[in-house]
Every structure is written in structure tokens, then in C-alpha cells.
């Protein structure tokens, strides 16, 4: 062997961070290399935004307050929905790692294994960031306008960041539990679909039945949608802001340790 090998001596904590950074780099490369997924990242949000605005716009604008266009109303909902659906990518990536032999490779290395999960989750944040920007640009092109200030946009970015993290960690749990990629898609369909549609993402909740409305108004997605929407439209944010943050932190507090525990258990079989 010609090459002299030098090894790093770092504390356990710094090493865990280095491992996470390496795995974030890996997962981010996946986003770029996986062409199908990349197309989804760009075109799915455009498609949803344009279709929803065109199809529902006419019918729903009746139910909206005057001077609020459906496109301006929809923007918050469609961003949150895209992020929620996008978390499936984390689930698929985690599931793939576990099903293929590569997880054994990682586990036989002197690395922090949870970096495999955090790598996928954090690269999901980048991907969702791209999707969100694509949607906003498309929105502006077709007539979306907002009175939000820079500070409001920062608050929106903060809430969405927390939400992405929370949902991607939830998705990581799905990825660990599912036996196949098809299983992941099925699970996320059953969980994410009702949560996003039985919410205030696309329509005002006033027209829903009593029970549905009670559910829709109090579930986490609606809190996040309402908080983002208030900031976009320049309305008072009310309780939605801190409820949104609280929900996200609550989900993170449960899903991070649960995902880590399940991952360790599942991968040592």
C-alpha cells in the first residue's frame, strides 16, 4: 500500500456531526441523480398549483372573503401539502437503505448510524425548499400577490422548516416500518392524504360537516396552513402561530427518538 493513511481523532459528538454532514451530502446527491424524483420536485408543485387554482378557483372564490383571490388563499395550502407529500421521499429513501444491503455496510463502520436517518431528513429540507421556491415563482407568474414583509417571509420559512423536519422524521418511521417501497407509498397515502385534504389547505372549513370541521380545524396541518396563510395575506395570526410551532415540536419530540429506536431495532435483524 503506497498511501499513508491518516485517521481523525475527534470527540464522539463532533464525530456524530461529521457523520451527519457526510450523509447529508450523500442524500443530497441522490436528489440530483434520481431524475424521476427531480422532475417530481419541480413539476409536481407547478401542476398542483395551476390545476387547483384553475379547477377550484371559480367555485371556491364565492366562499372566500371579498378581496381575497383563490390563488392567494391557496398558496399556503399548496405549499404545506407539497411539503407533507414530499416527506414520502424520506420514507422511501430510508426503506431502500434498509431493504438493500447498504445498511449492513454502514452498521459495520465505526460511524454514528443515526446519521443515515438525519442525512435523508435534512436533504429533504433542501428538496422541499426548492419545491417551495418553484411554487412561489409559478404563483407570481400566474397572479399570486402577497403583502408579507421580509420579516413575515422569514417567519413563514421558519414555520415551514420546522414542519418539514417534523414530517420527514414521521416519514422516517414509516420508512423503517414498511417492508417495501410500495408499502411506504400506501402508508403515506393513508396518513398524509386525509390529513392534508381534511384541513383548511384548499377550502375554508366553514362548509364542512360538524365533525369533519372540528377535526379539520384542530389538526396540525390546518394550524400550519392557517399560520402561513395569515402571514401571506397580512391577516392577524392569532393562536395559529404558536400552535403550529408547538405541534411541530411535539411531533419532533416523539418521532425523533421513536425513529431512532425503531431504526436500531430493525437494522439489527
Amino acid at each position: 500500500m503506497a498511501v499513508e493513511l491518516e485517521f481523525e481523532r475527534k470527540s464522539k459528538f463532533t464525530q456524530a456531526i461529521t457523520d451527519s454532514l457526510i450523509m447529508i451530502k450523500r442524500s443530497s446527491r441522490h436528489i440530483i441523480r434520481n431524475t424521476d424524483q427531480l422532475l417530481g420536485t419541480f413539476f409536481q408543485p407547478i401542476m398542483f398549483l395551476v390545476l387547483f387554482a384553475a379547477v377550484f378557483g371559480g367555485a371556491i372564490s364565492e366562499a372566500l372573503p371579498q378581496n381575497v383571490s383563490y390563488l392567494n388563499f391557496l398558496m399556503a395550502g399548496i405549499i404545506v401539502q407539497t411539503v407533507a407529500f414530499g416527506s414520502t421521499t424520506t420514507a422511501i429513501a430510508v426503506c431502500n437503505d434498509l431493504q438493500k444491503g447498504i445498511i449492513d455496510r454502514f452498521r459495520s463502520l465505526p460511524m454514528n448510524n443515526l446519521a443515515v436517518l438525519s442525512g435523508h431528513v435534512i436533504s429533504d429540507v433542501f428538496r422541499n425548499g426548492i419545491s417551495t421556491i418553484v411554487m412561489l415563482v409559478t404563483g407570481f407568474v400566474i397572479g399570486f400577490r402577497s403583502s408579507a414583509s421580509i420579516l413575515d417571509w422569514l417567519a413563514i420559512a421558519g414555520i415551514l422548516l420546522l414542519f418539514t423536519l417534523a414530517f420527514s422524521w414521521l416519514a422516517a418511521i414509516m420508512g423503517v416500518l414498511a417492508k417495501s417501497v410500495e408499502g411506504v407509498q400506501w402508508m403515506s397515502f393513508v396518513i398524509v392524504f386525509p390529513l392534508t385534504f381534511a384541513s383548511s389547505a384548499f377550502v375554508p372549513t366553514e362548509g364542512m360537516g360538524k365533525f369533519l370541521r372540528a377535526f379539520a380545524e384542530n389538526q396540525p396541518i390546518s394550524q400550519i396552513v392557517e399560520a402561513v396563510r395569515a402571514l401571506i395575506l397580512g391577516n392577524p395570526i392569532g393562536n395559529h402561530g404558536w400552535l403550529a410551532v408547538l405541534w411541530c415540536l411535539g411531533i419532533l419530540a416523539v418521532s425523533v427518538p421513536l425513529a431512532a429506536w425503531l431504526f436500531r431495532r430493525q437494522s439489527s435483524r
Binding site: 500500500m1 503506497a2 498511501v3 499513508e4 493513511l5 491518516e6 485517521f7 481523525e8 464525530q15 461529521t18 457523520d19 457526510i22 451530502k25 450523500r26 446527491r29 441522490h30 441523480r33 434520481n34 438493500k100 444491503g101 447498504i102 445498511i103 449492513d104 455496510r105 454502514f106 452498521r107 459495520s108 463502520l109 465505526p110 460511524m111 439489527s268 435483524r269
Partner: protein
């Protein structure tokens, strides 16, 4: 003696529910040698490798590698081993070079070391041309080579090779053997699992035969073969008359193999000397031989006599 023992496995047991996969396995591997675990599918070979490489907990027994307890000091064990599993464990979306550099960094190599070592391994493993293509575009043989290269990135002193040539075409298999031989020359300690008897025979210093979660035989290839028997000389003659004449010359040492074939078989101890003597005896009496063959016992015979069944790998090849 103990100083030179790198891997010690004592009374290793593992069950999945009521299914006892390992029923008490013992073996040792000395520094710089290769031990082959030979056995059919489902014998427990992969389970052993997974336990030794800290991937799987075990129920009873003791496993130490370089003196580290596999269970209690997993991180220390991980920094001295390299694992090449059955299902080439590389990241398909990353290029060969990216795979190597990433794994090198995860092995705690510095960035410069990881890059330099990746370059060196790509050259050693004949992957320079494909270095910057995603691994999913690689052929089966290239993928295995990359997988092995990845497990060597931090030059660990101990390598586990879990069926490194299963599913490879003959040419890729021989290329892989050459690479493994090079590793052995550098003094790497290797634990190889295989269902190919020829592979164990070709590469390993010692072989243990595993079946049904137990060690059923161990020794060098030569020792295992000698358990089955010695070399045999088979002589075939043109007709019954010549056969009878030959039998008269050779006496009771000659045993009929098959009457219709006019053939006899003799056990020989020293191939060269014995064969020469037998041929001289026969030509002295003017007995003409139609054909002759020396039959050496193969590891297949060993396996057959030990387990009472043919190895699955060989069945496939026939």
C-alpha cells in the same frame, strides 16, 4: 500462540425463535491466514459473519476480534474489520469514487487520506475508467470489485468475505480470486464463506465445514481430503482376457470397478512411484492397457461423505 489468534469464537449459539441457526460453533483464526467457512445454503455461514461484524446479536458463547468483545466493544471491532457481503453493498446513485471517499470518511479517514486511498483502490481494482460513473451502471463483477474495494478503504487488518464470488461468471470469479490472493500476500487476516468447494480449496489455509449450524469437520484441504481416502488408479483393458491377465499380475490389490468396462481400480499411496511400479509389472507380462486415470478425492467427496448429500453449489454447476 494466543498472541497470534485474531478471531476467537467459542460456543456461539443463535436462534430465531425456535429455529436454531447456530448450535455451538467454535473456531479460531490466526493472524495473516485465511479460514474458509464452507457449507451449503442455510448452514449458518452468513449468520456467523453478521455476528462477527457486529451486525447481529447472539444468544450464547463468546466472540473476540483483536481481543475486543464483539458485543461490548462493537466500535473498536468496527474499526479493524472490513465486510464484503453477499449483496454488493454500494450506493448505486453515487459514483465508484464517491462511494469509496464517503466510506473512507465514515471510517474516520481524513479527507486527503480518503481521496488518495480511493484513487489507489480504483487503480488496483481496475475501476479507473468507471470511477466517475454511478455504480448502478456497473456490471456484476465491477460492482463486487467496488464492494470489496470499499471494505478495504481504511486498510483494515481483518476482512470478512461473505460469498464474494456467488453469482459471478467464471472470468470475474478468477479475477476476484487474484485480488483475494493479493490481499493474503499483504498479510490480511481473512474469513471467507463459500459454498464452492473449489474456492475454499484454492484460497484458504484452513477450512471448516458447517452444516445445520454445527462444525462437522475442520482442517486443511489436504487433511479433509485424506479423510475420504487416498488417490486411486483406474486401469481399463480391451477385453475380458486382458482384464483377467492383469488381475493375475496385480493380485488382490486390484478391485473390479465395473465388469462390463473391463476396468480395475487400485489404491495408491505415492502416486508417482506406485503408478510406475504397476505399469512396469504389467508391461513385463505384456498386458496392454487401453486407458488409465488417477482419481484424486475432491472436496466434493469430503462433503458427500460428511453430510451424506451433495453440495448445492455443485449440483447447480452440473
Amino acid at each position: 500462540m494466543t498472541q497470534d489468534t485474531v478471531i476467537t469464537v467459542k460456543g456461539l449459539k443463535k436462534s430465531y425463535g425456535s429455529n436454531k441457526v447456530l448450535k455451538g460453533i467454535d473456531f479460531k483464526v490466526q493472524r495473516g491466514t485465511m479460514l474458509a467457512l464452507l457449507g451449503p445454503n442455510g448452514a449458518g455461514k452468513t449468520t456467523i459473519v453478521r455476528i462477527l461484524s457486529t451486525l447481529l446479536p447472539y444468544d450464547a458463547g463468546m466472540v473476540t476480534i483483536e481481543g475486543y468483545d464483539v458485543r461490548k466493544e462493537a466500535d473498536k471491532v468496527r474499526s479493524v474489520i472490513g465486510l464484503t457481503g453477499q449483496s454488493a453493498a454500494v450506493d448505486e446513485l453515487l459514483t465508484g469514487r464517491e462511494n469509496l471517499e464517503m466510506m473512507g470518511r465514515l471510517y474516520r479517514l481524513t479527507k486527503t487520506s480518503a481521496q488518495a486511498r480511493a484513487k489507489e483502490l480504483l487503480e488496483d481494482f481496475d475501476l479507473v475508467q468507471a470511477a466517475d460513473r454511478p455504480a448502478k451502471t456497473y456490471s456484476g463483477g465491477m460492482r463486487r470489485r467496488l464492494d470489496l474495494a470499499v471494505s478495504l478503504i481504511a486498510a483494515p487488518p481483518i476482512i470478512f468475505l461473505d460469498e464474494p464470488t456467488t453469482g459471478l461468471d467464471p472470468r470475474s470469479r478468477i479475477a476476484m480470486w487474484d485480488i483475494i490472493r493479493k490481499l493474503m500476500k499483504r498479510g490480511t487476516t481473512i474469513l471467507l464463506t463459500t459454498q464452492y468447494l473449489e474456492e475454499a480449496d484454492q484460497l484458504a489455509d484452513r477450512i471448516i465445514v458447517i452444516d445445520g449450524g454445527k462444525v462437522i469437520a475442520e482442517g486443511t484441504a489436504r487433511q479433509l481430503k485424506s479423510r475420504v481416502g487416498k488417490d486411486r488408479l483406474e486401469l481399463t483393458f480391451r477385453d475380458k482376457k486382458t482384464l483377467d491377465a492383469a488381475k493375475q499380475v496385480l493380485g488382490t490389490a486390484a478391485v473390479d470397478t465395473d465388469d462390463s468396462d473391463y476396468a480395475v481400480s487400485l489404491v495408491i499411496n505415492d502416486t508417482n512411484k506406485d503408478v510406475k511400479e504397476i505399469l512396469e509389472k504389467l508391461s513385463g507380462k505384456k498386458v496392454a492397457i487401453e486407458s488409465m486415470a488417477v482419481h484424486k478425492p475432491t472436496l466434493d467427496d469430503v462433503f458427500l461423505s460428511l453430510t451424506g448429500k451433495q453440495s448445492r453449489a455443485n449440483k447447480k454447476e452440473e
